[in-house]
Amino acid sequence: MKRVARAAAFAALTMSASMTVAADFPQPLAEEPVPSVAELPASYPDSWIFVHDFHGNSLIDARGVIVDVAADNNNVRGQIPISHFGSITPSPTRSEIYVGETFYSRQTRGERTDVITVWDTKTLTPKGEIVLPGGKRGQFVTLVNSLQLTNNDKWAMIFNFTPGSSVTVVDLDSRAVVSEVDLPGCSLIYPTGARGFASLCADGTMTSIALDAQGKPGATVTSEAFNDIDSDPLFMTPAMVGRTGWFVSFKGNLRAIDFSGEAAKVLGSFPIPAQSGGTPEWRPGGWQVISADRAGLLYVLMNPKGGEGSHKDGGTEAWVIDPVAKTLVRRITLKNHSISVEATQQAKPLLVASRPDGSLDVYDAVTGAFVRTVASVAHTPITMTAVRR
């Protein structure tokens, strides 16, 4: 009996509390429509980046994550799938995102289909696809220069590896294959001039191949050898300042290549100014180790434990380099060990450092001050691509 009385008293108390709250809010919450699906702006702000989640533990279920790194919350704005060692390349001018990927009809077996999937930036729904012939799309840990655009974003170029190398050129308007270019001994795609691309070659040179108006390969120009692959190779992903690509080498030498003309022009090289405190020495380390802001400053992810074999180990500082003055402007100490860096293209840029645990740390690129962590963005945030116009 005593227990019953106590329960009744509790119920009365609860009811009275509810009535008090209801009196504070005379109107109930509005009913909400179903279904309800969010949309994005067709053109993304400069503070947004694409994070390629390589998803090492489930490669067929990788994805691209669209992240607003400037917002206080609601940072993750959407996701699109990227199947098995794929690539993601946005085109702000076309309001489309292109994903090079591979499917099997029974997920891990059956008929292989390689495609470039075309995604709408506003709805994040697939608008179409271009089937790539031959089942030869190159598969490797993400390198953004495996899928690039040319001809005012009318064509996409995708790198094949069988292990023979070639490039398939596709027309994004008609969504059809335009041509295929053999690329013996060379790897990846660095767009050149109005139509065409250059490629880094195993003999240390760079080969440039112009494409005619029909997409057929024309003149080929091969540079002198400049890439010392044995002792100090260049990382494959450059930071782009306009049409100039800044590559950094394993030992910290910066090399500029001008891609504005029909043939790539290999420009000068200079070392990142040496700094003490490394054991044995400071070296670039990570996966996407160099980025550039709109003003042309370079950000290099640096590892104090640099040595042979350290080049993928990530880093603990980002060094800001002025490539014109050839000076080290600032050292940004990162809060966490990071694997890739990317600068946003805002007037006041942010520097994003991705962590092996899948979170992103965001810094004020001008002062180096830590701004925020965007937690749990990806399983494996291997590369990042800021919105660039």
Partner: protein, 186 residues
């Protein structure tokens, strides 16, 4: 090293011929070697550094061969045969250091390394055949990058999915098969 490289190349070609995949080799001329996929690597290595090597997970129970001439734990990255491996260790995925897990297909071309066996002090040629046709195993990721070079030199690059010439290119895990003693080592 050049002598070793030549020997490795020869061994690789032998493997390729034995598996009728010579056409693949010819595509990249004389430079080819082989395989060893390595998905997760850079990240797993950084993770190991960030978390003291354990990543916070409970340890995998050790697996030894029981043969004193083949010492070490085949679930650990420091097992002697894994000196140039990159990927998930098949020993942790239903296979062994030299066997693919049930239902997968072993890649016919491989990345070759030369590893010193601490028990008999011999240098062995090790073939890092990938196992293909199941999604990423996800256990015992191991990445060693000494001698690794960027994609511009594919035969020295462990970031490539070498599940080439298999019915399915989906990557599962990597083995470390003894091909023989590196007799020509200098």
């Amino acid at each position: 090293m050049s002598g070793l490289d030549k020997f490795s190349e020869k061994m690789t070609r032998r493997v390729a011929r034995a598996t009728s995949r010579r056409s693949l080799l010819t595509l990249i001329g004389g430079a080819l070697t082989g395989a060893a996929v390595i998905p997760v690597l850079p990240v797993s290595r950084a993770q190991a550094q960030g978390h003291g090597g354990g990543g916070g997970a409970d340890p995998i129970a050790p697996q030894t061969t029981g043969n004193p001439q083949d010492p070490g734990d085949q679930t650990k990255c420091d097992y002697w045969r894994y000196c140039a491996i990159d990927g998930f260790l098949c020993s942790c995925c239903g296979g062994s250091a030299s066997t693919c897990p049930p239902g997968t297909e072993m890649s016919p071309i491989t990345w070759i390394g030369t590893c010193m066996n601490p028990a008999d002090n011999r240098a062995y040629i090790i073939s890092y055949n990938d196992c293909c046709g199941r999604s990423a195993c996800g256990r015992c990721s191991c990445n060693r990058n000494e001698g690794d070079r960027p994609m511009v030199r594919p035969q020295a690059n462990n970031d490539i999915n070498w599940c080439l010439g298999t019915a399915s290119a989906i990557y599962n895990c990597s083995t470390a098969v003894i091909l023989g003693v590196a007799l020509e080592q200098k």
